[in-house]
Amino acid sequence: MSINERIRSWFIKKEKIQKGGGEKAIEKQYKKGKLTARDRINALLDKDSFFETDLFVEHKAKEFGLDKKTLAADGVITGFGRINNHKVCIYAQDFTVAGGSLGRMHALKITKIMDMAMKIGVPVIGINDSGGARIQEGVDALAGYGDIFLRNTKASGVIPQISVILGPCAGGAVYSPALTDFVFVVRNISNMFITGPQIIKSVLGEEITKEELGGAETHFTVTGNAHFIADTEHDTFKQIRKLFEFIPPNYKEKPPTTYSVEPNIERFDITSILPEDPKKPYDMRDVIGGIVDKSEFFEVQSGWASNIIVGFAHLDGKPIGIVANQPLMLAGVLDVDSSDKAARFVRFCDAFNIPLLTLVDMPGYLPGIDQEYAGVIRHGAKLLYAFSEATVPKLTLIVRKAYGGGYIAMCSKHLGADLVYAWPTAEIAVMGPEGAANIIFKKEIENSPNPDEMRKLKIKEYTEKFANPYLAASHGYVDAVINPEETRKELIKGLNFVLSNKDYMGNKKHGNIPL
């Protein structure tokens, strides 16, 4: 074979493999409203930045006639490239090739690129679109999944890991996304479940559509498995590119900084946000908007456990993670789901050197048999654990109510906050005035000729004495009571000072967070 012939043959081989499952299969993929694996990589990465690895990998399966079949690139495209000029490793399962099914070599390609990501210290993005294990390969397919889960776990806290669900992702396959840091889903395209609707019907006799069982909306609002939702694949890629504004490439590096830009508001007026009656709700996102750069907040898991808000923003050009109670939903109480949501987010920020800002306004934990039975003790403990463990700079602003156990849990001074700020509207106490007065002055109220009047009087007394930030401040639990109008300025001063925080957890294998 002449050199020219060799080059020609290389080109023909490459062209053929790059067509994936062939034109018919590609057309089918488009008809479902889905892009192909290659389209997806090109749409997500910076133009012409993709470098493909392992294009010529082939499966080695012998059973069930697979030995007579070749599967283009073994059903997955792997390589690396850039997003907003940040380096990333990426893989995308190709549904047009044997339904994107995972076999031994398919998995090997994925683990190779994950190993590369860890070695180079860059994030890894996995685009999932697969019918599941390649049944013909039997236990080898399971071995492949296991190898990926092991990498996911070893990479956890080393490099950011992102999963994009752009098709089915069922059975054991769902555990890879579940082990990663962020899961992106698209309406009417994404599907995730352990057991599908057919099995549920045959075993349990219950009928449910796959969209209801494990569609994008379900995971975004019911299960909390998905962090971001979009209407189209292109929208989901935009969200991923946005996320890269806040995250560093690995745990040894700081997140990228940018220019400081003032919020998009003329004047920060809390009287227009906070109602006079502390028992009335308001939208905590208005407070966030008044503090952060460009008033821009990139919310994570906005559809689930919305009594707590978590997400990213910039403060003075530096990425921060925000955890905030949302009085608009369930009065901002902590409960099973909101504790899980916040704890997981805090741990991500801590792992990747993103400072935390906690905004507090909550009356305590959600009361109820359901909560107690669901293990609110164990779940609530996660948030305490996560904040205590976090060694990144931690700023806390007490906006309004900080009562009881919730006060401690919301990154109080006691859990290691570097700076605790309070507005003059803060109420830091063991519980709300009504509850406290009922307990402390029980006898006086009962013995009074006019109990209702007495109760009101005692509530008023308690409110004046305790429903403020000054008692906590007098004990040194609050570092500064500030003018709300100067919140941004004061937070920036504090952040820039504590940014060089050298806090360190000490040497141990790992902690044992309540799970």
Binding site: V203, L204, G205, E206, T221, V222, K279, K280, P281, S306, P327, L328, M329, L330, A331, G332, V333, P363, G364, Y365, L366, P367, G368, I369, D370, Y373, A374, Y403, G404, M431, G432, P433, E434, G435, A436, N438
Partner: protein, 103 residues
């Protein structure tokens, strides 16, 4: 989601209540009436060992509920008399469905 109030430590707060919470609250209703024998899992009735009017003692086998390829023996939760049997052989039952009423 709808507007509502929640009570924390004797204080009512105005806020919004998500639909999911209300559903959750319903599923966690306490089962105080031990005389109602319910299916703890959806499945099929594979055997019924008692008939109405039978005297039963705590721990006595009442029926077999097959679910997830496993035959589960359903035992009497208290001493009593079988008042009513709501299922028959090969019936498919849902979770929390009342199978037998004791008195």
């Amino acid at each position: 989601m709808e507007k509502g109030k929640i009570n924390v430590d004797f204080t009512e707060y105005e806020t919004n209540i998500p639909e999911s919470l209300k559903k959750l609250r319903r599923t966690y209703r306490l089962n105080k009436n031990k005389k109602l024998v319910k299916a703890f899992i959806p499945g099929n009735i594979k055997a019924v060992f008692v008939k109405e009017g039978d005297k039963v003692v705590l721990g006595q086998k009442l029926l077999v509920l097959e679910a997830m390829k496993m035959e589960n023996e359903i035992l009497a939760p208290v001493n009593g008399v079988v008042k009513k049997i709501n299922v028959k052989l090969e019936d498919r039952v849902g979770k929390d469905q009342i199978l037998i009423e004791l008195k």
